[in-house]
Amino acid sequence: MQGDGLEITYWGVRGSHPSPGSHTVKYGGNTPCIEVEAGHSRVIVDAGTGVFALGNSLTKQPSHFHILFSHVHWDHVQGLPFFAPLRDPTVQVSIYGTARCLPLLRALLTQELRGIYIPTPLEQLKAQLNYHAFRIGESFVVGELKIDTVVLNHPYLSVGFRFQANGRSAVFFSDTAPFTDILFGYEYRPRPPRPDEALDEYEKERLAELEQAAIDLCHQTDLLIFDGHFTPQEYPRFAHFGHSTPEHALDIARRAQVKQLAIFHHAPARTDAQLDAILAEYQPLARQDNIELSLAREGVTVKL
């Protein structure tokens, strides 16, 4: 990349499952994948179907890729086996995830699951793979990028990442429920709460802690990328799905005093026209708090 700032490129912005068709041509129909670059350092975050185009777009390939995983729900891993650099024996690929996710990622790439789930033969995968487990809350470094982690409120846990380099920062909270209606953060909840079932004190305290840690991590960040899967009208029916609305995103952005907010993880059936309408509705609201609001869009690079 040029200069010494921090750059974010969106390769997949759609949640749950890929959504091909004429209704998604503008914002894109690929599942989550972003690229974060600072100087000569680069990481890929999540490997939804967007990583397929990323892998095929590289004209001058680096010899070492770093791929971070927020979690391993299908929409965040389904592009990985089709990432073209994995077929190059001269390439090294480092995979980063929590200890509970790494065995599954390893199985997807190396073991028996390939023959059963993935339609390409194992021997095509020639890159040198290595795996790095991190604990949520831990920080680590990839080249010039300092990376911090926080737990989000999502089934089976999702990790939020902050990237810092050259005095700039960006935060990726791709999958999280708001910190109000249900506690997913540390344990899975087998069923949604009944409408008459209030959260108990323990759950409320835990959620408040999770929320504070999330807000602390994105305090005054240059760019917060946040789950805006549902509209406020849809949300009550899907409160237990582990996703937020643009209103929830804006609430966190305000309290953390972020500079730019990008709504991410668009619902698969949401059309380009509907997304344009969401942007038109929330942009003026965000501006009142000096927040520049955008919708994450495939192919766009944000320079910080």
């Binding site: 759609r14 749950s16 499952h17 890929p18 959504s19 091909p20 068709g21 004429s22 998604t24 041509v25 894109g28 129909g29 690929n30 179907t49 397929f52 185009a53 095929n56 391993v72 729900h73 299908w74 891993v77 389904q78 592009g79 089709f82 509970r100 996710c101 599954l104 028996e112 390939r114 023959g115 059963i116 789930y117 993935i118 339609p119 390409t120 033969p121 194992l122 021997e123 095509q124 089934p155 089976y156 899975y188 799905f241 582990g242 698969p268 059936a269 495939e298």
Partner: protein, 286 residues
């Protein structure tokens, strides 16, 4: 009379974007409806998801729908729509799945293990509200509505670790029939007699087109598209719908492949053959 419709024609991974707008970017799914309205769903890739949104506008929306799923094998481009198929979330809809397992996993387990809590918020097929039944094929033909369904085990990749057996399906109604071969790798690039016999005399062959005529790579579990043309001709099938396209194939590439196949058919002595490419949303009456 059978009504055929394609909902997803792409292999491996869904490909959204401008380069796939004509033929569509969803992974594999097709439907056949017999003349009494019985619904048969062939494979359950992401094409299944828009199908589900259509079905809930009819009897599936009120829990009165039923359908048969024929799954050619458990690779996720044939199954990844299952967790997002809205008729599964409506009580009393009924579904029967027919497919095959692998050496390690029963058919049911190939589907169930793809919905484990790590991979899917759904966590289990048991959380679906509809009634689902799973039948491992015994290779025998069976009846669904007025359709007679024949099942044929097909050769797949011979490479180690590729533990699966793809199935081919033949749907017959009266004098009419179509053959569905979504995934096959012909051993030594020869047409086995049992597969020619299985397809013989059908009105339409739906056949994979993962590789073009000149880029076949052994071991991937797929075949050169020229073998699709040869099978159609040898089995005296008048129409061939290319299906299961490589994810890197753009619409233009597919157009060219159809031309090449048509030319190959025209230049080969044998029964006349019309070649077309399966397109998302396209309907054919058989």
């Amino acid at each position: 009379m059978m009504q055929l419709r394609f909902w997803g024609v792409r292999s491996d991974i869904a490909i959204p974007g401008r380069s796939t707008l004509k033929y569509g970017g969803n992974t594999l799914c097709a439907t056949v409806i017999d003349d009494q309205g019985n619904l048969c769903i062939l494979d359950a890739g992401t094409g299944l998801i828009p199908l589900g949104r259509e079905l809930v506008k009819q009897e599936f929306g009120s829990g009165e729908g039923q359908a048969l799923f024929l799954i050619s094998h458990g690779h996720w481009d044939h199954t990844q729509g299952i967790g997002f198929f809205t008729p599964f979330y409506i009580r009393d809809n009924r579904f029967t799945f027919v497919g095959a397992g692998s050496e390690e996993l029963a058919f049911y387990d190939t589907l169930e293990s793809q919905l484990s809590p790590a991979l899917s918020p759904l966590q289990s097929l048991n959380h679906l509200l509809a009634r689902l039944a799973f039948r491992e094929t015994d290779g025998q033909s069976f009846q669904w509505g007025t359709l007679e369904i024949q099942v044929q085990r097909l050769p797949g990749s011979a490479k180690p670790g590729m533990d699966y057996t793809p199935l081919g399906f033949r749907l017959n109604q009266g004098e009419r029939s179509l053959v569905y071969i979504a995934t096959i790798e012909y051993p030594a690039e020869e047409l086995p007699d049992d597969i020619v016999a299985f397809a013989a005399g059908a009105d339409l062959l739906i056949h994979e087109a993962y590789f073009g005529m000149y880029d076949y790579q052994p071991g991937w579990g797929h075949s050169s598209v020229s073998l699709a043309v040869k099978l159609a001709q040898k089995a005296r099938i008048p129409r061939l719908a290319l299906y299961h396209f490589n994810p890197t194939d753009t619409d233009d590439h597919i157009d060219q492949m159809v031309k090449n196949c048509q030319q190959l058919a025209n230049n080969t002595a044998g029964s006349p053959l019309e070649v077309m490419a399966a397109r998302e949303g396209q309907q054919l009456i058989i």
